[in-house]
Structures are given as structure tokens and as C-alpha cells.
């Protein structure tokens, strides 16, 4: 397609317990692998929990090839590594003033609030200061912006990237999403009774809650006038609020419904391969998403969720799940919803625990989070379905 300016993904990377490239992660997910494991006594927490955690020592081995491990926290190491591995696939000069870094995270270096942590200056707990460790590593001259909108941050960061390119403010945006698990986050979700003791079961009748996970993921976006049919276009995104409750989803799926309607625009739902839902496997989230999807007229579009492979990776989720959805369509595949077996939401949407073929070229990434926020993003390979 030509003539109309489009926002295009030029490179991406995923660092997770399942691999250190997007391709490794996609292959692992396609093969139904997961590193969700039960942890007892970790971080002095009194209760066990099930989570997908990265091997800190393995990351340090890889990181030692590029910088001194002692200078950076684990969070900073994996945002730098993920951004670096994405940048290495391109000719982009990160020292250029036309390159912006956007970080999506909810809790960054929150572990530094623990009085027993003395290895780093306390100011690194500030999200902007943590983001600066990354931009200074790459000698990027611009001030990084950090999007911190709870669990929808990863899609919000991509929407901010699109806007900063559409408005000609920058030529490239390196969009990095990350959260690392800690006693702070795990105990908080435990206090909410939101965690499942076993591997999570998105949209399933027997779902009992979510699992948490570590990950960092990066997509680099640019603006192009002409693209090939193999390039991925970020078509439209929207952020909408339920205006209902700060920690409970809307019964009418208000914000997700409105975000979905805006993201779809005039597109015929028949062109959408699948909706990659938030699918946290909590009772209320999954039910709310089924209501919103049905209300938006998308009941005939297959729906999947990836939390059964990675857990909920918070600030990384929107970027990680967008990348895997692009990889899936590149492979003519709709990924299975690991953990799903028997439908457990009001609307009988098209969920499957098997990989399924597709020849369609577009998908929607949907997220929702505390604060009543919801976000949807339409992505289309080749741009024809924008």
C-alpha cells in the first residue's frame, strides 16, 4: 500500500523465562511450554505462589557481555537487553534526537523500598530515573517517558508511540515494557485473593485467579509512506475508562466495549483473525471481557489469551502479547489458550486450547486494569485491514 502514512513495527524482542528472542518465545508458546512454577519461601513470603520467573543468574551471564552487572538492577538489565536486541535488528542510531524511548511499567524498581535493599541509590525507585538508566546506556539525548497505567500500560505505550510518530515529533520510538516480580507485588495480589495456586485457566469454568510473571518486551515503531505486504501496521488504538470502580471491572464491559469500538472503526469483523484478550483468569476480568466482546459485535471472532504461558507480566503484557500475536499471524496460526478447557463466561465466544490455522491478517490486542482503564489496539499485516 502507498499514499497514506502508516505506523510500522520494524523490530521486536521478548525476554522471558521461555526465551531471549521473539522467535524463541513464539516457538515455546506454539509448543505449549510454560515456566509457571510453584515457589515456596521465596523473598521471605509466608505463603507459596505460582509464577513465571526469569533466572537472574542467566540474565547476569548475558548482561556481563555488554555492561557491568553491579551498575544496574535486574529490572534495568532486562529493559536494556530487550531494547538492545531489538535495536540490533535495525540500522537505527539510538543516539539520534529523532529516536524516543517509551517505557511501560507499573512498579519498576519497587523492591528498593525494602529497607534491607542497600545496593542501589533509593532514587532509582523513581520510574523516570530507572528509564534514564536505559536512555543513558544508549546515549539517547531525549527524555524518556514512562507510561504507568496499571495492566494496560503496554498498549498505552504503543498508542503513545503511534501518536509521537503521527505528529512528526520523532522518526523512531523504542517502546519497552517490563515488570519484575517482588515481595511487594506478590503480597499485594495475595492480599486481593487474586492469585491462583495452580497454573491459571483463562476463561475456564474452573478458573481461580491469575499468576504473575517476569518479562521485558520491545517493539520499535517508525512512520512509512509505503510498506510491503509483510510489514506490520499499528492501525488504531484507544484507551477508555469504565467510570465504575477502581478495582472491579464493569458489569457492562463499558470501557473495553468503547475501546474495542474505536479500535475496530469501520473494519468488517470478518477480517480479524482473533482478539488477543487480557484473559487474566480472574472471575471478574474474564467475564467482563466476554461481555465487552459480545457487545462490540465480535462474538464470531476467535478469542485467545496468553497468561497460561507467561503469567501476568503487567507492564510487559501489552507489548509481549502484541509481538506473539504478530508472530502467530506470520505463521498463519491462532495460538491456543493454555489452561482453558470448559467455557466459564456468560457469552459463548470462540475460545480454544488448540492452535488453529488462519489466513487472516489482522488482530486486536485488548487489555484492562485497575483504575477502571481499558485499551484496545488494531494491528494489521500489510495494512490492508486498517
Amino acid at each position: 500500500m502507498g499514499g497514506k502514512r502508516m505506523i510500522v513495527s520494524v523490530a521486536h524482542n521478548i525476554l522471558s523465562p521461555l526465551g531471549m528472542t521473539s522467535a524463541e518465545n513464539y516457538a515455546a508458546v506454539k509448543a505449549s511450554r510454560s515456566e509457571l512454577k510453584r515457589h515456596e519461601g521465596l523473598w521471605n513470603l509466608p505463603e507459596p505462589f505460582t509464577a513465571s520467573l526469569m533466572d537472574r543468574e542467566k540474565v547476569e551471564d548475558v548482561f556481563s557481555e555488554i555492561a557491568d552487572n553491579k551498575r544496574y538492577t535486574f529490572f534495568e538489565k532486562i529493559i536494556i537487553l530487550s531494547a538492545k536486541r531489538a535495536l540490533e535488528q535495525t540500522n537505527i542510531d539510538p543516539t539520534s534526537s529523532k529516536v524516543l524511548f517509551i517505557l511501560s511499567t507499573t512498579k519498576g524498581n519497587v523492591f528498593l523500598l525494602d529497607k534491607r535493599e542497600t545496593g542501589f541509590p533509593k532514587e532509582r525507585v523513581l520510574l523516570g530515573v530507572a528509564a534514564r538508566q536505559m536512555t543513558e546506556f544508549f546515549h539517547n539525548p531525549n527524555t524518556p517517558i514512562v507510561v504507568s497505567n496499571a495492566c494496560i500500560s503496554g498498549v498505552c505505550a504503543q498508542i503513545e508511540a503511534m501518536r509521537n510518530l503521527e505528529s512528526d515529533a520523532f522518526d523512531f520510538v523504542v517502546t519497552v515494557g517490563c515488570d519484575v516480580q517482588s515481595a511487594f507485588i506478590v503480597s499485594g495480589f495475595q492480599s486481593f485473593k487474586a492469585l491462583s495456586m495452580e497454573s491459571c485457566k483463562p476463561f475456564d469454568a474452573n478458573r481461580t485467579g491469575l499468576n504473575l510473571g517476569d518479562a521485558a518486551a520491545t517493539i520499535i515503531y517508525t512512520r512509512k509512506d509505503k510498506i510491503t505486504e509483510n510489514e506490520w501496521v499499528a492501525c488504531r488504538g484507544a484507551i477508555r475508562n469504565d467510570a465504575n470502580h477502581i478495582s472491579g471491572p464493569s458489569r457492562t464491559g463499558e470501557g473495553s466495549y468503547r475501546a474495542l469500538k474505536t479500535a475496530i472503526g469501520a473494519l468488517n469483523p470478518d477480517e480479524i483473525a482473533f482478539i488477543n484478550a487480557h484473559g487474566t483468569a480472574t472471575l471478574y476480568n474474564d467475564e467482563m471481557e466476554s461481555v465487552a466482546i459480545e457487545r462490540a459485535g465480535l462474538a464470531q471472532v476467535p478469542v485467545n489469551g496468553l497468561k497460561g504461558y507467561f503469567g501476568h507480566t503487567m507492564g510487559a503484557a501489552g507489548i509481549l502479547e502484541t509481538i506473539l500475536s504478530m508472530c502467530a499471524i506470520d505463521d498463519n496460526n491462532i495460538l491456543a489458550t493454555k489452561g482453558f478447557d470448559t467455557i466459564g463466561v456468560t457469552h459463548p465466544l470462540l475460545f480454544s486450547n488448540q492452535n488453529q490455522p488462519t489466513d487472516k491478517k489482522a488482530f486486536i490486542k485488548l487489555l484492562s486494569g485497575f483504575g477502571g482503564c481499558n485499551a484496545a489496539l488494531l494491528m494489521a499485516k500489510g495494512g490492508a485491514s486498517c
Partner: protein, 182 residues
């Protein structure tokens, strides 16, 4: 442009000082009692949400338009440096000691800076965009760029936004305003 400024000692609405007696945490409660008073959920909020709630109420009272009519065209977009640091510190205190370990969901939910945008959306029935952006330091140019960019959403005609920072219960600063699509 309608504007409200609040810090630990000063309150102005459209650059005119608003009379008050208290300072710090007590100032926000005084403003709530004298100018709002009908929203007891205020007392459950963390300091960042209290600050944003009070500032937004003063701003919308100054706007003088009918309140609480559902709308999707107004976004709520704030910036700060400290994210949810006051709430994070308060929550950390509940898990610091193994012998005194009492994590609370009511405290944990506020350990996200965007909760205040949700509080304002709920109060005013705003179904539009809500967003929170954290910067290394306050930067008017970046804030202006991001706010102008937000009008690229075709539904957004108005933004309630600005700076909203809080480091502890007694130290905070809000400078928020209403912007219209040009």
C-alpha cells in the same frame, strides 16, 4: 484557560488565592469539607488521589458547566515524577517485618499512579481516555507535546490534565487545567 494550583501551603483557582487555614495533609481535608463534602470515598483515598480529586473538583466548579453527565469526549491525563510513591511507601510498611506482616488490598490498590484518573472518571462519569505519564522531572514542553498528541484520538475534544505529584502525605503539588481541542 481554567487552572487550579495546590501545593502544601498555597491554593489558587485561576491565579486567585483561595482562603484556607491548614497546611499539608490537613489542607486537602479542609478543602474537601469546605468545597465538596458529598463524597465520603475521599477519606479512603491515598494522598495522590485526594490531591487530584480536590483539584479536579475546584477546577470543574470553576468551569461552571452542568456536572455528572456521562461523556466520552473528555480525557483525564496527568504527569508526575514520583508515581505512587506515598502509597508505595505506606504499603511497604505493611510487609516490611515478617512478625508484623499485614498486607491490605485497600492500601495495595493505590500503589498505581493511574488510580487517581479512575477516581475522577468515576466521580464525573467520564468514559474517555485516562492516562498517567511519569517523567524524570517536570518538563512543560514534553507535557504539552503529550497532551496535544492526545487530541489525535478523534473522540477526545477536551482534556482535564496537568501535573500531579506527591512524595508523602504532607508534600504535594498539583497544577491542573482544562484544555480544549484547537
Amino acid at each position: 484557560m481554567l487552572k487550579v494550583y495546590i501545593n502544601t501551603e498555597t491554593v489558587t483557582v485561576n491565579d486567585k488565592p483561595l482562603v484556607h487555614k491548614e497546611k499539608g495533609a490537613a489542607l486537602l481535608t479542609e478543602l474537601y469539607r469546605n468545597h465538596i463534602g458529598d463524597y465520603p470515598k475521599f477519606f479512603k483515598m491515598d494522598t495522590l488521589s485526594k490531591l487530584g480529586f480536590v483539584a479536579s473538583e475546584l477546577l470543574l466548579q470553576a468551569e461552571g458547566k452542568p456536572r455528572f453527565e456521562p461523556r466520552e469526549d473528555r480525557a483525564v491525563i496527568f504527569f508526575n515524577k514520583s508515581a505512587s510513591l506515598q502509597a508505595d511507601t505506606a504499603y511497604q510498611a505493611t510487609i516490611q517485618d515478617a512478625e508484623n506482616f499485614f498486607p491490605s488490598p485497600a492500601a495495595f490498590v493505590y500503589t498505581l499512579p493511574n488510580i487517581v484518573t479512575g477516581e475522577i472518571a468515576i466521580r464525573n462519569k467520564y468514559f474517555g481516555e485516562t492516562s498517567f505519564i511519569v517523567l524524570p522531572d517536570r518538563d512543560p514542553q514534553i507535557m504539552a507535546r503529550q497532551l496535544q498528541n492526545a487530541f489525535l484520538d478523534p473522540t477526545t475534544n477536551s482534556i482535564l490534565g496537568g501535573w500531579l505529584d506527591c512524595t508523602d502525605e504532607n508534600h504535594f503539588e498539583a497544577e491542573i487545567y482544562l484544555l480544549n481541542k484547537s
